[in-house]
């Protein structure tokens, strides 16, 4: 995991776990690493991991079972996939607009890219 600079680290940890759930690395009902394990793995403060975990739970992405650990909630994979895709799309659209591409031109650029890639 590569941390970027200015975003709060707890939200980067959240994004990291969400991405893992979206691609199915962590499946529904699967236990995710404990705060301590995650802290050691990513080499970040356990309080920061704990804050990320609390926020994930609040958003309904994980469920804590007392004494057992933290588990991926049901049916969140597809939603997360869409959420992340939306984020990427917004980012792309914004950057294309900054470059001066119209919506139609942006779609065309994307279409051309896929056409070329398919050849």
């Amino acid at each position: 995991m590569n941390f970027n600079d200015n975003t709060p680290i707890f939200s980067q940890v959240m994004a990291y776990i969400k991405a893992q759930v979206a691609v199915g690395y962590f499946e529904t009902g699967q236990k995710i690493p404990s705060i301590r394990e995650m802290s050691q793995k990513l080499k970040i403060n356990p309080n920061t991991v704990s804050r990320a975990y609390q926020e994930l739970e609040r958003q309904g992405i994980t469920v804590t079972q007392r004494g057992l650990g933290v588990f991926v909630a049901e049916n969140v994979g597809q939603n997360l996939k869409e959420e992340i895709a939306r984020g990427h799309t917004e980012q792309f659209a914004k950057e294309m607009a900054t470059l001066g591409f119209s919506e139609a031109e942006t779609v065309e650029v994307l279409q051309n890219y896929f056409n070329r890639k398919g050849e």
């Binding site: 600079d5 050691q40 080499k43 356990p46």
Partner: protein
Amino acid sequence: MDNILSVTELTKSYGRKKVLQGTTFTLPVGRLVGLMGPNASGKTTMFNIISGLTKFRRGSVTIDGVPVGVATRSLVSYMPDKNFLYKYMTAKDALGFYKDFFPDFNEKTADELCVSLGIEKDEKVKKMSKGTVEKLLLLLTLSRKTKLYLLDEPLGGIDPLAKTKIVDTILGQFTGKDSTMVLSTHLLRDTEKLFDYALYLKDGQIIKSGEADTLRQENNKTLEEIYVEVYSE
């Protein structure tokens, strides 16, 4: 929230040189704190005062509500930035020394850390490299079970591999609950993700402090960028 450390209007001079000039701050319990500041900003003096080694003239310092003094010695485990172990000692002697001195010294933790840090118990301090001495001092400091840990430049002047080991050890021993660790450093690249609380010391005063993620968000900068901004003014 409970504060483990409370420093009010602390002033300390060496002769005419003012080192701390009315420093005031508190530290919440259960944090891994970065005490930031360039050389000669007063970090070591601050640590010496909090650990009860240096007297101060004005202001107050309380640890867990107790004024700093003999009574707080058992609450603070301090790793100074200079080696204080006798050269003729082996690592084993040093462990024995700590065990005799501090009733809260946990031998099991010490043994585990010896293994994970690769400390040879029979090696003499004078034969050890700088990195190994640093690891040994860290091991001794973290093997005590106390409320407040002060680590003065634990990452200074050592190679990247030893640094990684030391960071892992600090994270491994930090519980995030009832104990607080304060690390002084100016190597922010290595510690950016480690801290959840930051103190910036400049010319003997704390000029910025707070939750690391909040500081990042408010300033839209990393702790390191804030450091550059604060000290280049």
